[in-house]
């Protein structure tokens, strides 16, 4: 298998080969000592993982740092990868754990910090959904939002709901894969996505409402 793949490379069809060579094959080649296979996996996933982590931690530099750490762990623990298994969920699982640990570390830091108020993710869990009658009819809460307000709303959602939401909506994973990545039962994925969407809807609605309030104050 390796020879065939190398044959493709020798033909110069690197782009074509890049598409055809599976992650699993690249990982197996890396396990055999082919460092270029690792680099190709890096090219494929560095932006995806960085975006995923960024949506969890909300800070570019930290996201870059965590993404590098995730790839370092892949590099160092390549021997633990089981040939035939799927590489991407494994990588996402590593990145998820690192990002969630970062959120926990921040919460601990805020707890001991005198400078910053405690505004933990758990606090935002106490969000209550607004009365549906307030939202309807045709509140069009999402149509008005821009990128910034979506990002801000996403940050307000507790990480345990945010992470499956990102994996589903942005990364396109199904429930089974999310279950494996986050190491939670499939039923929990379903309930967290349901709750996460409700919370995001609420957060967007509140932002929309506060923006309207701010606007009306300026008008006055």
């Amino acid at each position: 298998m390796t020879e065939v793949l190398n044959g493709r490379d020798r033909k110069g069809n690197q782009d074509l080969g890049n598409k055809m060579v599976t992650d699993d094959h690249l990982m197996c080649r890396f396990q055999e000592g082919d460092e270029s296979a690792f680099k190709r996996l890096l090219e494929r996933y560095q932006d995806r993982i960085m975006n995923y982590v960024f949506r969890i931690v909300g800070d570019y530099d930290t996201a870059v740092d965590i993404t590098q750490e995730a790839f370092i762990r892949v590099y160092m623990n390549a021997g633990r990868y089981l040939p035939g298994s799927r590489f991407a969920p494994w990588l996402y699982r590593i990145a998820s754990n690192l990002a969630i640990n970062e959120i926990r570390r921040r919460k601990r830091w805020r707890f001991f910090s005198f400078d910053e108020p405690i505004n933990s993710d758990e606090k935002s869990m106490t969000f209550e959904l607004p009365d549906e009658s307030i939202l309807s009819p045709e509140a069009n809460i999402i149509q008005k939002e821009d990128v910034e307000s979506v990002e801000q709303a996403l940050e307000k959602i507790p990480v345990k709901y945010r992470t499956p939401l990102i994996l589903r909506e942005i990364e396109g994973y199904d429930y089974e894969e999310i279950s494996k990545i986050l190491n939670i039962p499939r039923g929990t994925v379903k309930s967290r996505l349901n709750r996460g969407r409700s919370l995001l809807k609420t957060a967007l609605y509140r932002q929309d409402k506060s923006q309207q309030t701010a606007f009306s104050l300026k008008e006055e």
């Binding site: 890096l42 370092i72 549906e132 309807s136 045709e138 999402i142 979506v150 990102i166 942005i170 429930y175």
Partner: protein, 120 residues
């Protein structure tokens, strides 16, 4: 027959196509006749599309260089730790010391008490 509460509870999984075929059919049927649930479905769909429309970011140009520098640094650290692997150093030393202490007790000595007793 599903009521609005049950439908809205399952709308998220409905949008993800993660329900059983019978539940999918029941919700589809409900949505045809219920405008409130249709609105809720539309809101959830918009939330999904707004998330998917977030602009993707790229890693900085120096990302790969920094990554391999970190890998090199970590492998060097592991290598130097292996050079001074205390287990591999201490185990033979302890065995040797223990051997020196125990060996006089195990090897028969020429100045043993029996030899002394035989002399007239």
């Amino acid at each position: 027959m599903m009521n609005c509460s049950k439908v809205q509870e399952n709308l998220s999984a409905f949008l993800d196509n993660e329900l059983t075929a019978s539940d999918m059919t029941a919700i589809k049927a409900h949505l045809i006749r219920c405008s409130e649930c249709r609105q809720e479905r539309d809101r959830l769909e918009k939330i999904g599309s707004s998330l998917r429309s977030l602009p993707p970011l790229q890693v900085p140009p120096e990302f790969e260089y920094q990554l391999f520098a970190r890998i090199k640094s970590q492998t060097t650290q592991i290598g130097s730790k292996r050079l001074i692997n205390w287990k591999t150093v201490l185990v033979p030393i302890c065995t040797l010391v223990l051997g020196i202490i125990i060996s006089p007790l195990l090897i028969p000595n020429s100045d043993s008490p029996t030899t002394v007793a035989e002399t007239p």
